[in-house]
């Protein structure tokens, strides 16, 4: 009996050490990023483990002025507009598909959600030509329009599955009061769906904020670059001034980490709904 207990305690201890080691292997590189971003480049080369002797906030100023400030603004702008548009357009589409009884709604829903099956990589070149044809290549719109389109299938699905289970009664009452379908959407359905709309917007914002490939190909002008592409530019600009680059990386990572920690619940609920990565 005693022996079995010892063994169980030992297993527990080993598992706990394993979990902690894994946590360290994730946290230490991030910690190293922050600490090293406050060192001088010389300190970094002398000893990669050491803490900075004096905190070099100037690295942050250098990185910010080397373009990170501009990229930041672009990322916030593109993410805000794309997220708002994708969420709004998806809510509009999900509403009749879940609340109206017309024929063909399943077909339309399948058509929209079916977009999830098509990887953006397949369409990289044809989208590039399409955006050139539309005259919006190398503008903010070259990112915003494809981002909105590619967020619609998942967002429609997420909102549709929530709208579907809203109670009918309130809606019926509003109809009796002479409200039309547009009024019902704004005054009944959307106010009742705030949590799922927040989830949908958060998931889109995360994907758009981090998007790399479209931003790389559809925009040429460095003044329009978002953070993910801008950091690549910063890397070649600062050359071997690693600590300045690390300051840029830290500034880009911190907002999204904070956003995640603050909104973890909504984030995870949405992921669980769809089982879709990215």
């Amino acid at each position: 009996m005693k022996r079995a207990e010892y063994r169980r305690a030992a297993t527990r201890g080993i598992l706990f050490i394993g979990l902690s080691a894994l946590a360290v292997s994730i946290l230490y590189p991030l910690f190293w990023m922050v600490v090293t971003s406050l060192k001088t480049n010389r300190e970094l080369f002398l000893n990669t483990w050491a803490l900075p002797t004096r905190w070099q906030w100037s690295n942050y100023a250098l990185a910010w002025n080397a373009g990170v400030g501009r990229f930041f603004f672009n990322s916030v702008f593109v993410t805000a507009i794309s997220t708002a548009a994708a969420t709004l357009i998806s809510a509009l589409a999900a509403y009749p598909l879940s609340r109206f009884g017309f024929r063909g709604r399943t077909a339309i829903l399948m058509f929209i959600v079916g977009g999830l099956m098509l990887a953006p990589q397949i369409s990289l070149i044809s989208l590039y030509k399409l955006l050139q044809g539309l005259g919006i290549y190398n503008t903010y719109w070259a990112m915003i329009v494809p981002y909105v389109a590619y967020r619609i299938p998942f967002t429609v699905f997420l909102l549709w599955s929530y709208f579907l289970f809203l109670p009918r009664e309130v809606e019926e009452a509003a109809y009796s009061d002479g409200c039309n379908s547009w009024g019902i959407l704004w005054h009944v359905v959307l106010p009742m769906s705030k949590p799922i709309i927040a989830t949908a917007a958060l998931l889109s914002a995360r994907v758009i904020w981090n998007e790399f490939m479209f931003a790389l190909v559809f925009v040429e002008d460095s003044a329009l670059r978002t953070i993910p592409i801008g950091l690549m530019g910063l890397k070649s600009q600062v050359d071997t001034d690693w600590t300045v680059l690390l300051a840029g990386l830290t500034m880009s990572a911190v907002p999204i980490i904070l956003l995640f920690i603050l909104t973890q619940k909504q984030f995870v609920r949405g992921l669980a709904e769809g089982g879709v990565k990215g």
Binding site: I89, S90, L92, P96, R99, L130, V148, I152, N210, S252
Partner: protein
């Protein structure tokens, strides 16, 4: 159902979304296939019809096979680490003794997946760096100096070094999906297993795994699809090098289109990505909640 029964009332709501999806998701896929049948460059006015010649060229192209092999390697390693280890990690965190610490561990493990790959890729480039990186410094520190290698600079190792970073980033993400699925398992099932005399490992095998089977398949599909779409990781960390050793389909597509200006050939690679991901995506959608639309 509602009083609104006509398609005419629904159409104005559905139209903007449906049109955007049609024009920017479906149409480009059709165009990609059409474009793959022509020889053309970015600025050329004329396209020359070549039929399926580019597909033939792919079949005898060694770099295409390198890319395909790297994508497959990505898929296999990701299944082992993200799905395999993710499943086990989730099960451990769901154990009663670890419940207390679960919120901390799960948040930490998940964090890398919300950060942009540019940040992670450039950070790991430095961590792998033989001069300033902590990886080699750590290996030397614990007396394993002979394993201190030039990770990303070595054409045999580089692809593994890149894939390792993806595992570092995404295992916690897949683990989180498993955790959500496991929390829906009725506790009575575990109690019944315990009464039958099952130990922890046995109840994992006979209760947990069968109960999250659908999630296992969905997660496998997600990781394999992800493996065949991979672009950012390779483009950012190695750009396909050293030589062409880390090329994957998407980076080869990018290089063919925007470096070599062979648009038709690049589109043929795009169609291969379509073939590799489409069937799996249908499977994923059918098994996840998205598939239960009707």
């Amino acid at each position: 159902m509602n009083r609104e029964r006509s398609l005419r009332t629904a159409l104005p709501y559905v139209l903007p979304g449906a049109l955007l999806v049609l024009v920017f998701i479906y149409l480009p896929v059709v165009l990609s296939f059409a474009f793959s049948l022509y020889r053309w460059s970015s600025f050329s006015v004329n396209k020359v019809y070549v039929g399926f010649r580019y597909y033939g060229r792919l079949l005898s192209d060694p770099i295409f096979y390198t890319a395909l092999q790297n994508n497959a390697l990505y898929a296999v390693i990701s299944i082992v680490f993200q799905v395999g280890a993710g499943l086990i990690l989730a099960a451990i965190l769901e154990e009663k003794v670890f419940r207390k610490y679960q919120p901390f561990f799960r948040t930490v493990y998940f964090v890398p997946s919300v950060i942009s790959f540019t940040v992670i890729g450039l950070l790991w480039q430095m961590l792998y760096n033989p001069d300033i990186g902590i990886l080699n410094a750590a290996l030397r520190g614990i007396g394993l100096g002979r394993f201190a290698l030039g990770w990303l600079g070595d054409s045999r190792l580089a692809i593994y070094a890149v894939i390792a970073v993806s595992q570092w980033q995404y295992t916690g993400y897949i683990m989180m999906l498993f955790l959500v699925a496991m929390q829906k398992i009725p506790p009575e099932l575990y109690e019944a297993a315990m009464i039958d005399g099952a130990n922890r490992v046995q109840s994992f095998r006979h209760v947990t795994v069968p109960q999250v089977k659908a999630m296992i398949v969905v997660n496998m599909a997600i990781t394999v699809i992800g493996a065949f779409k991979v672009f950012d990781e390779v483009y950012i960390m190695t750009g396909g090098g050293p030589g062409r050793s880390t090329e994957v389909l998407a980076t080869y597509l990018y290089r063919s289109a925007f470096r070599n200006d062979e648009m038709g050939f690049a589109n043929a690679i795009g169609c291969v990505i379509f073939l590799m991901t489409f069937a799996l995506s249908i499977l994923q959608l059918r098994l996840s909640r998205v598939g239960r639309i009707e």
